[in-house]
């Protein structure tokens, strides 16, 4: 420590006033990292001792928007941006721990080429965090050098393609990676599963706008938070220690008949294995498209920590309703239910499912709030609501959003008996 102060002291006696240059390098770095990158570089004009301070910045964020000249010449701006980034990286000296890129709104001439070059640079400088917000217009293949950034902890990539041939042998993997966020990603083969398998400490996996035509097997005993959203056909999950699970299936086009679209997903097994789960969200067409048997869970195994269930569900469908019921029965501490209703197959004769439920166990013991969107007032929906109101002793609020209910439904709603004194029904 002493050697750090002696020059500072000398400096002080010479020029008593310089109040920022004598700060430790780490602090100057911190201050520079708080500045827009162009201004950080401009500190080279301050004085001799600041000439190269910028060149060892550890956290870099390159934003396309910082290079908007305002003269409307997009191409020029983009060129300047790319050149600045290239120059900066080629002159940079020392470790880069965090690298952010935001080029939303421009088309780079060859994203892959630039990112390839930059990633190579980063992989040699101990990068820990990568955030690349690139435009979805130019997809790129994840550069192979990315897989050699073995100190990565957080990754956010967008509009990229992941193929299995790129993956390095498992032993090399990302030992320290804890968060992986991939958006607009096309996956070939089971590369995603292999990637997850090569991250022994991955806790948070977020896949949105995923496109995959192949089998995805994600097996991890470390994963805590999992979000999968997009188009996929085969999904096999074994992640027993999740606290939060969100799965949303999209169909290629909404016009596609869901009855023909099938998704091969081990839903029952997956849910049954979740011992620590706190939130479960199943949205999109997942319940509809998944071939699942009636969910049967052992009565002794309860999801004691489960407090939130969100479902996109057709309450009139026996299979879906049964799955929901099964979840409710096994979640004694459930507090919040969010249902996005999809009233389909109205032609099918109504099933008195929710009326026929065995009532000696209180189903909604701790439920506080229930949201129901797209409420149509169908037989099954009213049946569920009736059960809920009669069976939830601490219910405070039922929020219903609808697309125009008729008078008869309102009358029905008002007539329902409520067990909880505080229960109010809010219609949006």
């Amino acid at each position: 420590m002493d050697h750090e102060f002696s020059p500072a002291k000398i400096c002080k006696s010479v020029a008593d006033e310089d109040i920022i240059t004598n700060l430790p390098e780490a602090l100057k770095d911190k201050i520079l990292c708080c500045l827009p990158i162009k201004e950080a570089v401009q500190t080279c004009l301050l004085s001799r001792s600041w000439r190269y301070t910028w060149a060892s910045m550890t956290e870099l964020l390159f934003r396309r928007s910082d290079f908007a000249s305002g003269n409307g010449n997009e191409k020029d701006d983009a060129c300047r941006f790319l050149k600045f980034t290239d120059m900066f990286l080629s002159l940079h000296n020392g470790p880069i721990l965090k690298f952010g890129l935001n080029t939303l709104g421009i088309e780079m001439l060859s994203t892959g080429g630039h990112i390839y070059r930059w990633m190579l640079m980063l992989s040699r400088n101990g990068i820990k965090e990568i955030h690349l917000r690139t435009s979805t217009l130019d997809r790129y293949k994840i550069p192979s050098c990315f897989f050699f950034c073995d100190r990565l902890e957080h990754v956010y990539l967008r509009a990229c393609i992941l193929t299995s041939s790129q993956l390095p042998p498992l032993s090399k993997g990302f030992k320290q990676l804890s968060t992986l966020h991939l958006e607009h990603i096309s996956v070939q083969g089971n590369s995603l599963g292999d990637l997850v398998a090569s991250c022994p400490n991955l806790e948070k996996l977020h896949l949105s706008k995923l496109i995959s035509m192949h089998h995805i097997y994600i097996h991890s005993t470390k994963l805590k938070i999992l979000t999968i959203e997009g188009q996929f056909q085969h999904l096999n999950l074994h992640t027993p220690y999740l606290t939060s699970a969100t799965i949303k299936l999209k169909l290629q086009s909404e016009l596609n008949d869901a009855s023909t679209a099938r998704c091969n997903f081990n839903l029952s097994q997956f849910i049954a294995s979740l011992s620590d789960v706190e939130n479960i969200r199943l949205y999109g067409r997942i319940l509809e498209c998944v071939e699942h048997e009636f969910l049967i869970l052992k009565t002794t195994e309860l999801f004691n920590r489960l407090t939130y269930i969100g479902l996109e569900i057709n309450l009139g469908n026996l299979k879906e309703a049964n799955l929901a019921l099964c979840l409710f029965q096994h979640a004694p501490n459930l507090r919040l239910i969010n249902l996005k209703l999809i009233p389909r197959n109205l032609m099918v004769p109504p099933v008195r499912f929710w009326e026929s439920i065995d009532r000696h166990v209180c189903l909604f013991q701790n439920v506080h709030v229930v949201c129901m969107t797209n409420f149509t007032g169908s037989f099954a929906e009213l049946g569920f609501l009736k059960l809920l109101l009669e069976d939830a002793p601490v219910l405070r609020k039922v929020i219903i959003s609808d697309k125009g209910l008729d008078r008869g439904v309102f009358e029905n709603l008002l007539k329902m008996r409520r067990t909880s004194n505080e229960a109010e029904i809010v219609i949006l």
Binding site: M1, F5, A15, E17, D18, I19, I20, T21, L23, P24, A26, L27, K30, I31, L32, C34, L35, P36, K38, E39, V41, Q42, T43, C44, L45, L46, S47, R48, W50, R51, Y52, K75, D76, C79, R80, L82, K83, F84, M87, F88, S90, L91, L109, S110, G112, G113, Y116, R117, L120, M121
Partner: protein, 335 residues
């Protein structure tokens, strides 16, 4: 107010105190729970058991002066109280850093030495806000930085920031000219090279990055291409302009030693901000020039060169100085 709150939570009699000693020898007594908020002090107490008596006071690092210490303790006193809302904390923080810049610097340094990360973050951000959007002169004034750069060193980047419109236009014309020459000579060649751009092997890339891209014979497609381009650019009709172009050639390929120039760190620094002098993608300015337009372009370039003539001698002079200077700095840089 925080004092009274504290005494509600914990009666005065039950409070324990910790003794802290600044580098100047002054000793003060602080509530343990407040002092424990600083990781460095906390460690001293837990690990070494110091601070429990006046003659066993915890010696604080040199960077913590009494004034900063009292500010830090204010900060800890506020934030160690549980149950404050984020909004409260935020508005406290905002007011807290509204202090004299010099004190802010000292505070940042002191907080850093006590490893009080949230306060370090807060003060660094505040300092960054002070710097943001200001000219170098203003920043120098605020922080009393010595103005010890030569005019030339300052001029290089400034010239580029300010975007001298004449240079800009001239360079655009040159880019067009270069483009047109290229078009004529090796249209096919370039296309092939561009197609191969992203498929360079790792070795070639490493070569490029390690700075010997130009000397790798047929390898290092990119820098090689650049060399070629720059060489083309060196043969314009007007000799007066050559120094500029030479500079350009050296700066545009930062790692290149093949050209035979001295590594020129300060010059490169300046070029980072330069946007127009060395158009990266000259190829895109293509607009299919016909011979008549070519002639017109030539005329324009010459005309510009004439108009700039009054400025050039000075520029050339600066250019030479720059080279000598860069020799010095180049040596320093390659330590």
């Amino acid at each position: 107010m925080s004092e009274s709150e504290l005494s509600v939570i914990k009666p005065e009699a039950l409070k324990t105190y910790i003794w802290l000693q600044c580098f100047d020898g002054s000793i003060q007594q602080v509530e343990e729970e407040v002092a424990m908020f600083c990781p460095m002090i906390c460690r001293e107490i837990v690990k070494n058991g110091t601070g429990s008596a006046k003659n066993h006071a915890i010696a604080l690092p040199e960077r913590v002066n009494p004034a900063s210490l009292s500010l830090i303790l204010d900060y800890c006193r506020f934030h160690q109280v549980p149950g404050r809302s984020n909004k409260e904390r935020k508005s406290f923080d905002e007011k807290f850093v509204r202090i004299d810049t010099e004190k802010l610097c000292e505070l940042t340094s002191a907080a850093d030495s006590l490893q009080l990360k949230p306060l370090v973050d807060l003060t660094s951000r505040a300092l960054a806000r002070i710097i943001e959007g200001k000219t170098p002169e203003e920043i120098r004034d605020i922080f009393h930085l010595p103005d010890d750069l030569t005019e030339e060193e300052k001029l290089e980047p400034l010239k580029n920031i300010n975007d001298d419109p004449r240079i800009r236009l001239l360079n655009r014309l040159y880019a067009k000219k270069r483009k047109e020459l290229q078009e004529r000579q090796k249209l096919k060649d370039i296309q092939v090279q561009q197609e191969h751009k992203d498929e360079r092997s790792l070795d070639e890339l490493l070569c490029f990055i390690n700075g010997d891209g130009g000397s790798g014979g047929g390898k290092g497609g990119k820098s090689k291409k650049k060399n070629k381009r720059r060489k083309d650019a060196k043969n314009p009709p007007k000799a007066d302009l050559e120094p500029v172009n030479k500079g350009e050639a050296a700066c545009a390929v930062p790692c290149n030693v093949g050209i035979g120039n001295i590594p020129r760190a300060p010059c490169q620094t300046s070029d980072v901000q330069d946007d127009n002098e060395y158009p990266f993608e000259d190829g895109d300015l293509d607009d299919g020039l016909d011979p008549a337009m070519q002639e017109e372009l030539d005329r324009e370039v010459e005309d510009f060169a004439r108009r700039l003539n009054s400025v050039w001698p000075e520029r050339m002079h600066l250019g030479q100085e720059r080279r000598i200077e860069s020799q010095l700095i180049g040596g320093f840089n390659h330590r």
